[in-house]
């Protein structure tokens, strides 16, 4: 048995007076006549954050969230229940509730448990205690000072540092016996600058599945502070954005939120099993320009969206979603993989034990192309160059998606000129992807702040892309 599983068993079971046989008997308990799959997911997470405002570290919070989620699957049906805290009576009660969908009668016993082994992508050490409390406070103060020193127009600075350490154990009737210990940290800076009565905000942040000490090391945090101030000052000069369809060049890294919205959600297995996605039934078809190859890769070391195993205990992988414009496959959890008769891809994720797993993205990005970023900008006569985004959303059924630029510039005669006010870009996923006409050689991944929401559940994700050009997309400015 792996060392990791022993460690998690000690923390989640033994410390609560449980043994793995208790979990197995709960699994047996819910295996009714029609049940295809039963699962027990046990999790305990500790989180801590400190926030600075007005130059003082005003608030700090610590939380412990632990519980057991139990799920029974029968055909397309899901029965789900959970209990707060880790207790044998709660486990059994949840198992009985989840069995609602199982039908009467008994089924054969669960398969013998087999330990799932997966490559460790991050440290199991507690990321929160890697810095002393004094160091955390000092880091916030330091970032505040760097931001204020960067420009006299800086009026307000907010800084927040957060870390969490989560252990999970999953045991299922298909024999899955898997565990993971996940660190996650982030540092966020937001500033308000004021000049001649005009105020603007700038923000920046970063993190990943590493420890808080990594945020403290070197001058990484100084860079975040200066970046937030730079962005705010750029926006002080912003002019009204143009309105209407036009060429748009997207910068590398975080603008990959384009892919997350335009194709990512539409390629999640549940929507495609139900036929409710604009990409349903299109595997093997051209869904993007041949310059586009898009992957979802949960195996990147220490990235925010990475997982050694997903929340169903399946090892994550690097999944080719679109290869040279051709749709290759969907992202799957166990339920949808079974119903679509394909393999799970390690994309079964849940916000916590109190939520059901669904197919979700990990780190979604576009592979680099051949073009020099300068050439891409030079190719545009009149358009927009967008480098920072506030987020986006998609209607997977129509394919319609939006994402909102928070830092963007006009391109005039092949040159980047004036900054423009924030504007939303809107398009249709397959449509826009077919209009990608140049792809840069400068693949970048985001700094580690992405949060993806679906059906009321939030999970950390990553995005990335090289500089790319979309020949035409609607820019939602005020200057028609």
């Amino acid at each position: 048995m792996s060392e990791l599983i022993q460690q998690v068993e000690a923390e989640l079971l033994a410390a609560k007076g449980l043994v793995s046989a208790d979990v197995q008997s709960a699994l047996e308990r819910m295996l009714g006549r029609n049940v295809d799959y039963g699962e027990v997911f046990i999790q305990s997470a500790r989180s801590e954050s400190f926030g600075l405002e007005d130059g003082i570290v005003k608030d700090g919070a610590f939380s412990v969230d632990a519980g057991i989620g139990v799920r029974a699957l029968a055909g397309e049906k899901t029965g789900f229940a959970y209990c707060e805290d880790i207790r044998a009576d709660g486990l059994n009660k949840a198992a009985d509730a989840a069995k609602t969908v199982a039908g009467a009668g008994a089924r054969g016993p669960a398969q013998g448990l087999r330990v799932v082994s997966a490559e460790a992508l991050y440290s199991t050490q507690d990321p929160i205690s890697s810095l002393s409390q004094e160091q955390k406070v000092a880091l916030l103060q330091h970032v505040d000072q760097i931001a204020r020193a960067a420009d006299s127009r800086v009026k307000e600075v907010n800084v927040r540092i957060a870390g969490s350490h989560s252990s999970m154990l999953v045991m299922a009737s298909d024999g899955t016996f898997s565990a993971d210990i996940r660190p996650l940290v982030r540092l966020d800076v937001s500033v308000i600058v004021e000049d001649k009565g005009r105020r603007e905000r700038g923000s920046s942040g970063g993190g990943g599945r590493r420890d808080l000490a990594s945020l403290y090391a070197g001058d990484w945090a100084d860079g975040l502070a200066r970046e937030a101030v730079r962005m705010a000052l750029v926006n002080l000069e912003a002019v009204d954005a143009p309105a209407g369809p036009m060429p748009v060049v997207l910068g590398p890294g975080w603008p990959g939120v384009l892919l997350h919205e335009a194709v990512g959600h539409g390629l999640e297995g549940d929507f495609n099993r139900k036929g409710s996605s604009a990409f349903s039934g299109r595997v093997g078809e051209q869904v993007a320009s041949s310059l586009c190859s898009v992957v979802d890769d949960g195996t990147l070391s220490e990235r925010r969206g990475s997982l050694s195993v997903d929340d169903e205990g399946t090892p994550t992988q690097n999944t080719m979603l679109i290869e040279n414009g051709i749709l290759r496959g969907y992202m799957q959890d166990k339920l949808n993989a079974r119903l679509m008769n394909v393999a799970a891809t390690g994309n079964g994720r849940r916000q916590s034990y109190a939520h059901v797993p669904m197919p979700r993205m990990t780190n979604t990005y576009m592979l680099p192309g051949q073009d020099q970023p300068e050439d891409i900008i030079r190719s545009v006569n009149r358009g927009v160059y967008a480098v920072n985004f506030g987020g986006g959303s998609v209607d997977i059924t129509s394919g319609r998606f939006v994402f909102s630029a928070t830092e963007a510039y006009l391109i005039e005669d092949g040159k980047v000129t004036a900054p423009i006010r924030g504007a939303t870009l809107i398009g249709n996923g397959p449509d826009v992807m077919n209009k990608v006409s140049m792809v840069g050689n400068d693949l970048g991944l985001d700094a580690g702040v992405g949060v993806c929401g679906k059906d009321g559940q939030s999970v950390p994700v990553g995005v990335g892309q090289p500089t790319l050009k979309v020949d035409e997309i609607v820019v939602g400015g005020t200057q028609a």
Binding site: F50, D54, I56, V57, K58, D59, G60, A61, F62, S63, V64, E76, K77, T78, G79, F80, A81, C83, E84, D85, A97, A98, T100, Q133, V137, E156, N158, I192, E200, R201, A243, G244, P245, K274, G275, S276, A278, A354, V356, G391, G392, S393, D395, T397, S398, R400, V402, S404, R421, G422, A423, T424, I426, G427, V474, V475, G476, G477, T478, A480
Partner: protein
């Protein structure tokens, strides 16, 4: 044990936690405990899809030592966890810094007695009955039109909750509430592709829910109405917002006049008390004590007794939306809005939706907004939209894949007229609103 029987136990838990806080030497403490229990059942294409039972319980505590504070929370309410959590909050407070403005709200602001807002109406609904109801709802929707080709299902949810808040002034307040809902999401398809839309009903008491057939029919009709959309033209056009979206617009106003946005100087309405923020015929009224309302509460997140607030009177901003902390920072008095507003409504003369469309003339009736393109500091507004093209006061055809853009300050002060179709399903009760022309970006 009935769910509601926990209330006394949770109140005792608050007393126990406050006692532990005192023993740990805290100068001030506040505790919030909540318990929730419920059932959600969904049906898709006539078949049971999900049955989810939820049961949540947790508490959070904020301790203050001098002018420093620390917060901790947990899902475990055992005596050992209480002690550990109080100590965790104390450990946090050892490292935060003096904040001259922190502290409980003044003791005399706490409610003198509990107010029963009639918000607790449990629904004895089995998973089987919930399935039947959801199935009826979906089937009525699927039958609306043969072009309703697919479904994302219908869902019935029933939730009950207890909230207890206590602080070291000696105030302990609690109330129980229920919330039931029924929703349906349908997918239509024709030669132009697929479109989805939904409808829902929500209430404190199950007998106040719209019928399953009504919800299904609305979802179906709305979905069909969206099929075969055109793109909107680019240009400047008058805009009418559907009630749910009008509530969102008022939400942006509330964000801008919240104490937090004011003291952080992160508002496009900075320092605007006494100034015009809405047209002179429009007021904004909060009524926290409305019985059975979805936003009702007799005390706020600081334990302060709620009161009726008229934030905007005849277009003029009269007061910010304040918690005790923000009020202290701004040298004002709290408006009992720690944690948000309670039942906000627009007051003023209204006309029927048809009249509103006639007044719109030619422009856009917006039924969906997408994305986060709203800058609270500058008021810059640019969002994706879908809805209907209106020609001479009549709905002509569906449109999508366009944006509307402008500045919130102008959008709010230039509201032309409001409808009488108030959406009561939300904490902000708004009707359709006719806005002055905005920039629409769509086709070239």
């Amino acid at each position: 044990m009935e769910f509601i029987d926990q209330q006394a136990e949770l109140q005792q838990l608050v007393h126990d936690i406050l006692k532990e806080a005192r023993q740990q030497g805290a100068d001030q403490a506040e505790v919030s405990v909540s318990a929730e229990e419920g059932l959600g059942v969904s049906v898709r294409k006539g078949e049971l899809e999900n049955v989810e039972f939820n049961q949540d319980r947790g508490f959070g505590i904020t301790l203050q030592f001098g002018q420093r504070r620390g917060t901790a929370s947990t899902t475990d309410s055992s005596p050992q966890a209480i002690q550990e959590t109080v100590i965790a909050a104390k450990n946090i407070a050892r490292f935060t810094e003096d904040d001259p403005y922190c502290g409980l709200a003044d003791a005399e602001l706490m409610p003198q007695q509990a107010v029963d807002l009639d918000m607790y109406h449990p629904w004895e609904l089995s998973a089987d009955d919930a399935q039947l109801l959801a199935a009826e709802c979906e089937s009525v929707g699927l039958d609306v039109d043969p072009r309703i080709a697919n479904s994302d299902g219908a869902q019935v949810s029933t939730q009950q909750g207890i909230r207890v808040y206590g602080n070291s002034h000696g105030f302990v307040g609690s109330y129980a509430s229920t919330r039931h809902s029924l929703s349906c999401v349908l997918i239509g398809e024709d030669g132009n592709g697929m479109q989805r839309d939904y409808w829902y009903t929500v209430a404190r008491s199950a007998d106040e829910l719209d019928s399953a057939a009504h919800v299904g029919r609305e979802a179906g009709e709305r979905t069909i109405a969206r099929l075969a959309p055109s793109k909107a033209p680019t240009g400047s056009f008058p805009i009418m917002l559907a009630p749910q979206l009008a509530a969102g617009l008022i939400g942006h106003l509330l964000g801008a006049i919240s104490g937090g946005a004011q003291y952080r100087k992160a508002s496009f309405l900075l320092g605007s008390v006494g100034q015009q923020v809405l047209p002179t015929w429009l007021s904004l009224q909060e009524s926290p004590l409305l019985p059975r309302s979805l936003g009702g509460a007799y005390f706020d997140g600081d334990g302060v007794a709620t009161r009726s607030n008229r934030f905007v009177d005849a277009g003029i901003l009269r007061s910010y939306v304040l918690s005790s902390y923000a009020a202290r920072k701004l040298e004002l008095v709290t408006t009992a809005n720690a944690g948000g507003v309670h039942n906000l409504a627009l007051l003023g003369p209204s006309v029927s939706r048809d009249e509103l469309l006639r007044e719109l003339g030619t422009g856009l009736y917006i039924c969906e907004l997408m994305g986060q393109g709203v800058n609270g500091v500058t008021g810059d507004y640019s969002r994706g939209a879908a809805g209907f093209w209106v020609e001479d006061g009549e709905i002509a055809h569906p449109v999508d894949e366009f944006t509307i853009a402008g500045n919130l300050r102008d959008m709010l002060t230039n509201i032309v007229r409001m409808g009488d179709d108030f959406d009561l399903r939300s904490n902000v009760r708004a009707p359709s609103l006719l806005l002055a022309p905005m920039t629409v970006a769509g086709e070239s």
